[in-house]
């Protein structure tokens, strides 16, 4: 979190303490100011002002804090530090780097009252100017580049609030060389000095020129997502599901394989070990687009379930502000928030301590507004510096009892355009990812088809429709089967069920833990579908030619469809398999 020169304001004293909520008296503060509470200087934020009492949510544990202790105001809103060093880092909910905290605290436990800047202040970066003295620049314009990681060139920009909209200024000095993030790398003729480090209040969206219709998919390497329910770069998606249904695994898969430039992963009120897993795995795993370690494009924010509730409320804002910063550089950023329900619950907890009027199921009345403000910050944008960039936002939702009618799921669905519904029944039978294909949808499908048609195959949409139709038919037939058994169906319908089984087992299922199957490029997704279609066509021909269903179902080649997923050289495999299936089925008549 940001540590700015503190403007002098009147300090106050604590009047009462109840969990994460502290009330102070005589504090001269504005809404959302960051304050330091008590003798230990715990970080907090002003969330309500009434007369001379100020209510503060405290980002650290408040045990032992007593009335009468001082409260000190920084006079600054909750902000993040932006600049090189954000990537390959893990933060808590108020952007304190967890490795630095471990160091400073000298303990594996999170102590309190320790602050740390969001980006290293004494690291020197090699700055390469991309402007010259005499150039005119506007707000947001790039003035130079530093290599932040092997993957990412960090664009040093004129802060968006340094100049007014449309205003330009002349570069009077700019130098290449090694600089810390606080040293000036360029100067404008209006006196503005540009450093690599910027600051931005987390609750305020960074400015843009306009939001555009997204037309490129965020390719995930997950068959059911790319194939049936794609999300756009700049799109929004929700993954609701009961516990253990695969929200986190899906989010991790996206973080690993989505073809975004930058990944911001927000672990909001979830398990510590899940974050540890990411910290362990990502430096080892290869980014499929560049071959570099995944951490080189990733920033993690971890406010686990046992960490202070107020910081859980702020962590999604910290995440999306960092995402917007890279978007401004012209990058495609994908943000995963696991789980937005924990964020909503943090709002509820704070709200109830404030004794606000509760809305539906105790959530504050502003729940819907907060959710939509958050997802509104996602999108495909024209940036203030003329570049284009995107923020895709994918939120897990953890509905109580797995019941999607609850407020967080419902309010989220009203905003997001992609819905990946996880299903406990599928998870129970280890059908993974357990995304229910009847309930899920993507409203981006049509606008993304042209991309898939030009990049993969011109009948992409047609094939998808074919698969969807078979699955729909299966759903209807299953209802009959439940009553009378499969053998009572006419043979052609039995065959449709068989085709649908391959769609479910080979195409819709994908093992995240298999080294090959875990990532499936769109070409492979497409080829798998066409293989199943080959089986479908040949099998129906055979049936028409009078071959009994038992024989068609009992071929040796068709079950190989289930092995396409684990093939590395899938093109060859699929080619051979298609001809084997054709040959074998034709040999039956």
């Amino acid at each position: 979190m940001s540590q700015t020169a503190q403007s002098v304001r009147e300090d106050g004293v604590i009047a009462s303490v109840s969990g994460p909520v502290v009330v102070a008296r005589d504090l001269d503060a504005r809404m959302n100011d960051v304050v330091y509470v008590g003798d230990e200087g715990l970080m907090g934020e002003v969330i309500e002002i009434e007369g001379d009492t100020t209510t503060i949510q405290v980002y650290e544990e408040t045990s032992g804090i007593a009335p009468g202790e001082p409260v000190e105001n920084t006079g600054e809103p909750l902000s993040v530090d932006l600049g090189p060093g954000l990537l390959d880092t893990i933060y808590d909910g108020v952007q304190r780097p967890l490795d630095v905290l471990e160091d400073k605290m000298g303990s594996p436990y999170l102590d309190r009252g320790v602050d740390a800047p969001g980006i290293e202040l004494d690291t020197e970066w090699e700055f390469e100017p991309t402007v010259e003295e005499g150039d005119e620049v506007g707000r947001g314009d790039e003035v130079g580049i530093v290599e932040e990681t092997v993957t990412i060139d960090h664009k040093v920009m004129v802060p968006p609030d340094a100049l007014d909209e449309g205003e330009t200024a002349e570069i009077v000095s700019v130098e290449s060389g090694s600089f810390t993030v606080e040293e000036t790398v360029a100067e404008l003729d209006n006196g503005v000095e540009i450093q690599m480090r910027q600051e931005w209040p987390v609750r305020e969206a960074r400015p843009t020129v306009e939001k555009k219709t997204p037309r490129t998919p965020l390719v995930s390497g997950q068959r059911i997502l790319d194939g049936l329910f794609p999300i756009a770069k700049g799109g929004t998606a929700a993954i609701p599901g009961p516990f253990g249904s695969g929200k986190t695994v899906t989010q991790h898969q996206l973080a690993k394989y989505a073809d975004a430039d930058i990944i911001i992963y927000v672990g909001c009120g979830e398990r510590g070990n899940e974050m540890t897993e990411v910290i362990d795995d990502f430096p080892e795993l290869e980014d499929p687009s560049t071959g570099n370690p995944l951490m080189a494009r990733t920033s993690l924010i971890a406010n686990t379930s046992n960490m202070p509730v107020a910081a859980r409320e702020s962590c999604v804002y910290t995440g999306i502000t960092i995402a917007e910063f890279y978007r401004d550089m012209g990058y495609d950023v994908a943000l995963m928030a696991d789980s937005t329900s924990r964020w909503a619950e943090a709002m509820r907890e704070i709200s109830s301590r404030l004794e606000e009027m509760p809305g539906e199921e105790g959530y504050p009345a502003y729940l819907a507004a907060r959710l939509s403000q958050f997802y509104e910050r996602a999108g495909y944008f024209e940036n203030v510096n003329g570049t284009e960039g995107s923020v895709s936002a994918i939120g897990a939702v953890s509905p109580p009892g797995g019941d999607f009618s609850e407020p967080v799921t419902q309010n989220t669905l009203r905003i997001v355009k992609t819905f990946w519904a996880l299903d406990a029944d599928l998870a129970e039978r280890r059908h993974f990812p357990s995304i229910n294909w009847n309930e899920s949808y993507s409203l981006y499908k049509d606008q993304l088809d042209p991309w898939f048609e030009s990049e993969v195959s011109d009948d992409w949409a047609e094939k998808r429709q074919w698969a969807v139709d078979i699955l729909d038919e299966e759903a209807e037939l299953q209802e009959i089967v439940q009553l009378v058994g499969k053998d009572a169906l006419p043979e052609d319908q039995q065959l449709t069920l068989e085709v649908a089984r391959y769609l479910r087992e080979a195409y819709l299922q994908q093992n995240a833990f298999h080294p090959v199957d875990t990532y499936c490029p769109p070409e492979k997704t497409y080829l798998m579908l066409t293989t199943i279609e080959t089986f479908h066509d040949e099998a129906f021909d055979a049936l028409e030619a009078g071959v009994p269903i038992e024989e068609i179902v009992d071929t040796d080649s068709a079950p190989q469809i289930n092995r396409i997923g684990v093939q590395e050289d899938y093109v060859e495999y699929v080619d051979e398999l298609k001809s084997e299936i054709t040959e074998e089925l034709r040999s039956l008549y």
Partner: protein, 475 residues
């Protein structure tokens, strides 16, 4: 230390008192009643002039003349290795007639959160000797894996079996040597009878020596239950991370813990969350469950097996629901399987161990472990589904393939799951039984198993015999 006789209100487990000094949030309080009884409590809310105190032992006997002392510190647990072998009450006071505990340290019972950066990812297989767990829902060191049960089910037997049998295959490099195994048992509101079962088992197997037992029984104060697990976990963390023990924590019954939370919430007139439980119950439970784990550079580990009885055997009830959202999987004890006499009556289908994937496989357990487990899940699920259909259409109406799956499901329960509470099965044996069962199915059906493993482990004759048999009947 100042004494106050300023109690203004008594409400359920809460006492409100006026004070003229600064009292810290969460601070410990002693209340002495007119009868000379000393009760302990904790500050729940502290404002200028007034504090709300939650009294662990309940407020009966307190009146406005009782005197209130603030101890100036938050609740501590005296810890020492000498706790091993001891039986304590729910607040950590010895009740076994043994010597006083001479603490090496006194630690705050509200443990600070482990920095996620400092954790070590749990991936060391614990062999419990129970096939339903080892084979299908593998437990690893540092995991939190609750048992979801309901009243009257043999969850305690299962927990005891795990505590008795749990071992970790020898580490080759001899690292980890000197790390001993310890069990910490935290009872919250269970009956004396249940508690006795545990104690007898501990004594019979000599496990008590390497155990610490905390007892809050059904007739002990309910509010005390909110402290018991924190005492337990503080002790566990101390033994694990300072004394290198591999600690297995059994907490039973979490449902009683949650009821106590609800009671306090109601007394404070808080806005209740779902079904009357406090809105912060998720956070509160997380602060307990997340104290399981491993820490980089420390030898020991804290593994948790919390037991909870689901009200109405309904896993969407807030207690199991919130637990499932925090823990790393869950083991379901199933009343139907229990009435069929299966021991342990574990329903593997809804059960899950999320840390299994990283704890098993080549070099850890066996190369084919993940595939076998996956395939058995799928096959058992399919057989289970077909059972419903059989009830309607009869077995004859089903295809040969379907009949094989039905047989699989039956034998899976009889041979794989129903091993008895006293049998300790090695993992090899568990997987071998798995292969025996999978070999009932034609090879082509094993689409979740790597072809290489089918080569190695599939029992050709079993399926041949099956096939000829099937063909014979088909003829």
């Amino acid at each position: 230390m100042k004494e106050y006789q300023t109690i203004t209100e008594i409400s359920g487990p809460l006492v409100f008192a006026e004070v003229d000094e600064a009292i810290g949030y969460d601070e410990i309080v002693e209340i002495e009643t007119a009868q000379g009884e000393t009760l302990r409590g904790q500050v729940l809310e502290s404002s200028d002039g007034v504090v709300a105190i939650q009294v662990f032992e309940g407020t009966s006997g307190i009146d406005q003349h009782a005197s209130v002392r603030f101890l100036g510190e938050t609740m501590k647990m005296p810890v020492t290795e000498d706790l091993l072998g001891r039986v304590l009450d729910g607040s950590g006071r010895p009740i076994d007639g043994g010597p006083d505990i001479v603490p090496e340290e006194r630690q705050d019972i509200v443990g600070a959160a482990i920095n996620p950066y400092s954790r070590e990812y749990p991936e060391e297989f614990i062999e419990t000797g129970v096939s339903a767990i080892d084979g299908m829902n593998t437990l690893v060191r540092g995991q939190k894996l609750p048992i979801f049960s309901s009243s009257g089910q043999p969850h305690s037997e299962l927990a005891m079996q795990i505590a008795r049998q749990a071992s970790v295959p020898e580490e080759e490099d001899g690292e980890g040597e000197g790390s001993e195994f310890a069990v910490i048992f935290g009872a919250m509101g269970i009956t004396a009878e249940e508690a006795n079962e545990f104690m007898e088992d501990f004594e019979r197997t000599g496990a008590l020596e390497r155990s610490v037992v905390f007892m809050n029984l059904a007739d002990d104060p309910a509010v005390e239950r909110t402290v018991t697990p924190r005492m337990v976990l503080t002790t566990a963390e101390y033994l694990a991370f300072e004394k290198d023990y591999h600690v297995l924590v059994i907490l039973t019954d979490m449902t009683n813990y949650c009821e106590a939370l609800r009671e306090i919430g109601a007394a404070r007139e808080e806005v209740p969350g779902r079904r009357g439980y406090p809105g912060y119950m998720y956070t509160d439970l997380a602060q307990l469950y997340e104290r399981a784990g491993r820490i980089q550079g420390r030898e020991g580990s804290v593994t948790q097996i919390p037991i909870l009885t689901m009200p109405g055997d309904d896993d969407t009830h807030p207690i199991p629901d919130l637990t499932g959202y925090i823990t790393e999987g869950q083991i379901y004890v199933d009343p139907d399987l229990n009435s069929q006499g299966l021991q342990p009556p574990v329903n593997v289908l809804p059960s899950l161990s999320r840390l299994m994937d990283d704890g098993i496989g080549e070099g850890l357990t066996r190369e084919d472990h993940a595939d076998v487990s996956d395939q058995m899940y799928a096959a058992y699920a399919e057989g289970e589904d077909l059972r419903d259909l059989v009830n309607i259409v009869g077995r004859e109406a089903l295809s040969e393939r379907d009949n094989k799956y039905l047989d699989f499901a039956d034998r899976f329960e009889a041979e794989f799951i129903d091993q008895g509470f006293e049998t300790n099965r090695a993992l090899e044996e568990t997987l071998d039984i798995g292969w025996e069962l999978l070999s009932m199915l034609p090879k082509e059906e094993l689409n979740r198993v790597d072809e290489e493993f089918i080569e190695t482990y599939y029992h050709e004759d079993a399926s041949d015999a099956d096939n000829t048999e099937a063909e014979a009947t088909a003829d």
